[in-house]
Amino acid sequence: EDKVVQSPLSLVVHEGDTVTLNCSYEVTNFRSLLWYKQEKKAPTFLFMLTSSGIEKKSGRLSSILDKKELSSILNITATQTGDSAIYLCAVGPYSGAGSYQLTFGKGTKLSVIP
């Protein structure tokens, strides 16, 4: 059974701090790892990491995949109150049916206080 564990479960920081969120996984035939941000609504896509793309960056957010350690980190620098959200990590294997089933972690709830 595929498994995704995120840590910490929750985190409170002050504006301007840098945070690192962790995701570890166990999946058969790993294909990719995805990060999503969820505020009080639907998850929105941040990054996808694969064997051929183990680092991604967008503005103050960056993510690295460590295939040897079966883990990934999501870094947010110079945090802002708008970064407050639940951050979800998901992984998926190759699927015989051709669709792409994701297994999600329970998320890390980040609260950024002024």
Partner: protein
């Protein structure tokens, strides 16, 4: 905006009644998914579809059925709703022709309460 809508957005129903949730997409994605999200469990896959009339079960499919008679619509049915099915339901899509099949885009969600 991935062009995905869900209806209804909120529903309150009684135990034992049938309920159908609709997911509609406008961009011809091949794959469609239904998830439920509950505190302490995160997002869990209920059913998914890899084409018209092609569907399969996910992790938590008991008590749910789905149908996809055309590319743009994916229906989730609770045949006889129970209180344990109170949840927020998300539809997701992926597999736009010529694009990545891996990245899933989520609809706005349906909050279902079963009394």
């Amino acid at each position: 905006d991935a062009g995905i809508t869900q209806s209804p957005r909120h529903k309150v129903t009684e135990t034992g009644t049938p309920v159908t949730l609709r997911c509609h997409q406008t961009e011809n994605h091949r794959y469609m998914y239904w998830y439920r999200q509950d505190p302490g469990h995160g997002l869990r896959l209920i059913h998914y579809s890899y084409g018209v009339k092609d569907t399969d079960k996910g992790e938590v499919s008991d008590g749910y059925s789905v149908s996809r008679s055309k590319t743009e619509d994916f229906l989730l049915t609770l045949e006889s709703a129970t209180s344990s099915q109170t949840s927020v339901y998300f539809c997701a899509i992926s597999g736009l022709a010529g694009g990545s099949t891996d990245t899933q885009y989520f609809g706005p969600g349906t909050r279902l309460t079963v009394l």
